[in-house]
């Protein structure tokens, strides 16, 4: 019942064929973080082939975009990758603004940057906790959620939602931020660095964690390019590719921040990239809070939005990599086509090649370091 008799693959070094078995990991598995299913052909604990099976929560977001007005698609964007909802809304809003040539007030752009970067920290905190619980350390998860909670409280104050914000609108924001938010954001910028130092001391420098991640799951820059992997995955492979620098958007060019890059290509490099990114996000938030201009948060937007015919795209650096919205308009009030380029899909697609020959615990550690959000893959 265990052995798969058909077509046994040749053993290592061309020896006698060995018996393998298929391990069905998921769609309900503690390490799958949702409904990802991976069919693993195993030789003992060694993976000879891992085939991700996706589509369990496919919700037709792209098709939904084609049969409702531009504005009505807006709430969908925060449900694709619910952990970095701000970035996704930003991309769609940005694409429409680019097409309709809507001017966005400076204050709105600054607040977009502040909320996007806070959202990035919140998303990375979830990833950090989830990775550690994948590795069997259950405690960091609750500490991470403690910090994330502060951000979610701030977001709740400005837009009423804690997860699916839909805070950005064509031409600006739905609400201006209040003093509570600004005070809270400043307090958070003060609160976070000591916490990050504690995480570094207690978790990052832990010898067991180092052993689990260092040198495990190499993903080269070449492999990233072939599969289109972006975000911390490619920055952990030594390529300083960040949409905020490569295709600057919103108010990002006005801030001084670094792109953390680690050339080691292993899980530890991806881990460190994200940990450093949180520090950089804090820097951006601090600068934006210091130089936040006064003024309106909503530009001039026509009451009935009809985009001129054409093909428009807008990319943002989401927490997991490059998220791009491509919209095609034929002049009507509903889109002709909405295409969503999601980072998790590309980041997962390299898993099959990267996990070949790894053992199960290492492959799951690498899966955790890819930071997948399954609704983002299926969308």
């Amino acid at each position: 019942m265990i052995a798969q008799k058909e077509a046994p693959p040749a053993g290592p070094s061309g020896g006698a064929p060995q018996e393998t078995f298929v391990l069905n990991l998921g769609p309900q598995h503690p390490a799958a973080h949702g409904v990802l299913r991976i069919l693993m052909t195993m030789d003992g604990e060694w993976i000879t082939r891992a085939e991700p099976v996706i589509g369990y929560i496919h919700r037709m977001h792209e098709k939904m975009g084609e049969n409702r007005t531009w504005a009505k698609f807006l709430p969908n964007t925060s449900r694709i990758d619910y952990l970095s909802a701000m970035h996704y809304t930003h991309a769609f809003v940005g694409a429409v603004e680019r097409a309709a040539k809507i001017e966005v007030p400076a204050r709105a752009e600054y607040i977009r940057v502040i909320t996007s970067e806070l959202n990035r920290i919140a998303s990375h905190m979830v990833w950090w906790g989830a990775l550690l619980s994948d590795l069997g350390g259950l405690t960091p998860f609750l500490y991470a959620f403690d910090d994330r909670e502060l951000i979610l409280d701030l977001f709740e104050g400005i837009c009423g939602a804690r997860l699916t914000y839909c805070y950005y609108r064509f031409g600006g924001l739905c609400n201006d931020v209040d003093d509570d938010f600004l005070k809270g954001a400043r307090a958070f910028v003060k609160h976070m660095p000591p916490r990050l130092k504690m995480y570094r001391d207690l978790v990052t420098d832990n010898i067991i964690l180092r052993k689990r991640l260092t040198g495990i799951g190499p993903i080269s820059a070449d492999m990233c390019r072939r599969y289109g992997a972006t975000g911390p995955v490619i920055r952990g492979a030594g390529v300083a590719y960040d949409v905020r620098k490569v295709e600057p958007y919103s108010a990002y060019p006005q801030f001084d921040f670094k792109i953390p890059v680690y050339p080691e290509c292993d899980s530890m490099a991806r881990y460190l990239v994200r940990m450093d990114e949180m520090e950089q996000s804090l820097r951006i938030v601090e600068q934006a809070l210091d130089s936040l201009p006064a003024g309106p948060v909503m530009g001039k937007v026509p009451r009935v939005l009809k985009l001129p015919p054409g093909d428009y795209s807008y990319a943002v650096e989401a927490a997991r990599g490059r998220f791009m919205v491509r919209i095609v308009s034929d002049g009507k009030d509903i889109p002709y086509r909405v295409r969503l380029r999601t980072p998790s899909f590309s980041n997962l697609s390299l898993f099959e090649e990267a996990s070949r020959g790894m053992i199960l615990p290492d492959a799951l550690a690498m899966l955790g370091s890819l930071d997948l959000v399954i609704p983002d893959i299926d969308r």
Binding site: G44, D134, L135, L142, D146, N206, I208, R212
Partner: protein, 349 residues
């Protein structure tokens, strides 16, 4: 009154003594398993900045009863295609060894069920049955995760039995007896007479304790070495197909094994029922000291679990074969040399 008790416990009535101790050990294991689970959840809560179970009873004190009630209420399901005999036998086999091991552990000067001369040998020989039970559980459940888990359990336990026994042999060379009560008796007086602090026997004595403790964690399948039940890799490992009280027995056995392991550590390294300061010893305070030391060690086991991530399986084996076994062999040789050195010097000069 005491004469009657003496008479009942005396040589004329061995079965009364036996029955008393059977009931006592049963109650001890049951209470420990139930309340150590609660303690673990409370400690985990404390470490993770949350309250832990606090609904059932005052401050959650009835939680173990609620848990056991739930487990008993569940249907005992045997999945189709399993090896029924082995599937049902495995929980029994995993529970029996710690019960037997507890019979020889001296809780106080006269508080031991059987004062066996080969007590330590008995503990380690029965302790290793545990592996077979887990292996059978994994094998019988006809589940791929369980099979992987049982393969892991066997290689892990083979790897960690060796440094553990080497450490024990090191201690035996110092104590010269396998009788646990005598080993405790030798560590009387102030706390520097405990084997842990006896650096004149072997300067690496604290290191041997650390090795013993690591091996104990690995033998009882506790985090960070919980390869058998690596929930983020193997779902629940060997116990994946067990439900209801079948799972509950595995759970209880885990805690019973921890109690046995920590008791042995207390006896071997921390002077068992001996008071650390000469005063406050005797038949009343002896068991109390034993419990204090035992639960301090049990707490450390839990503390480690909620603080560290899990090791990777091959790192775990490397730790044993490449680090622990060489060090424990070295301490063994060092102890031998230090014991024989005076004799050698005497012969030479």
């Amino acid at each position: 009154m005491s004469a009657i008790v003496q008479n009942l416990l005396g040589p004329g009535w061995p079965w009364v003594r036996l029955l008393l101790y059977l009931a006592g050990i049963g109650a001890f294991v049951g209470a420990n398993a139930a309340y150590l689970v609660l303690a673990e959840r409370k400690i985990a809560g404390r470490i993770q900045r949350r309250p832990g179970p606090n609904e059932a009873g005052f401050g959650g004190w009835m939680q173990p009863f609620a848990d056991v009630g739930k487990l008993f209420a569940k249907q005992m399901m045997i999945p189709p295609g399993t090896d029924r005999l082995l599937y049902c036998l495995a929980p029994l086999m995993v529970m029996a060894p710690p019960l037997i091991c507890l019979t020889v552990i001296p809780y106080g000067e006269n508080l031991v069920a059987r004062n066996v001369d080969v007590g330590l040998l008995l503990v380690f020989s029965f302790g290793s049955i545990n592996v077979m039970a887990l292996m059978l559980a994994g094998w019988a459940s006809r589940n791929k995760f369980a099979i992987i888990s049982s393969a892991r359990v066997v290689s892990q336990n083979v790897a960690y039995e060796i440094p553990m026994l080497l450490v024990v042999i090191t201690l035996l060379m110092a104590t010269g007896t396998l009788n646990l009560n005598e080993i405790v008796g030798q560590q009387g007086g102030w706390f520097w007479n405990w084997n842990f602090f006896r650096v004149w026997v072997n300067p690496l004595m604290p290191v041997t304790f650390v090795i013993f403790f690591i091996c104990m964690l690995a033998e009882t399948n506790r985090a960070p070495f919980d390869m058998a039940e690596a929930e983020s890799e193997l779902v629940a490992g060997a116990f994946t197909e067990y439900g209801g009280m079948g799972f509950g027995v595995f759970f209880m056995a885990e805690y019973a094994n921890i109690v046995v392991g920590c008791s042995i550590a207390t006896v071997l390294f921390f002077g068992g029922w001996q008071s650390p300061f000469v005063v406050l010893s005797g038949p009343v305070f002896g068991p109390l000291w034993f419990m204090v030391k035992l639960y301090a060690l049990v707490f450390t086991v839990m503390w480690v679990r909620w603080t560290f991530p899990r090791t990777q399986f091959y790192n775990l084996l490397n730790l044993s074969w490449k680090i622990l076994i060489p060090i424990s062999l070295f301490t063994l040789l060092l102890t031998g040399a230090m014991m024989k050195l005076p004799l050698l010097l005497h012969h030479l000069f």
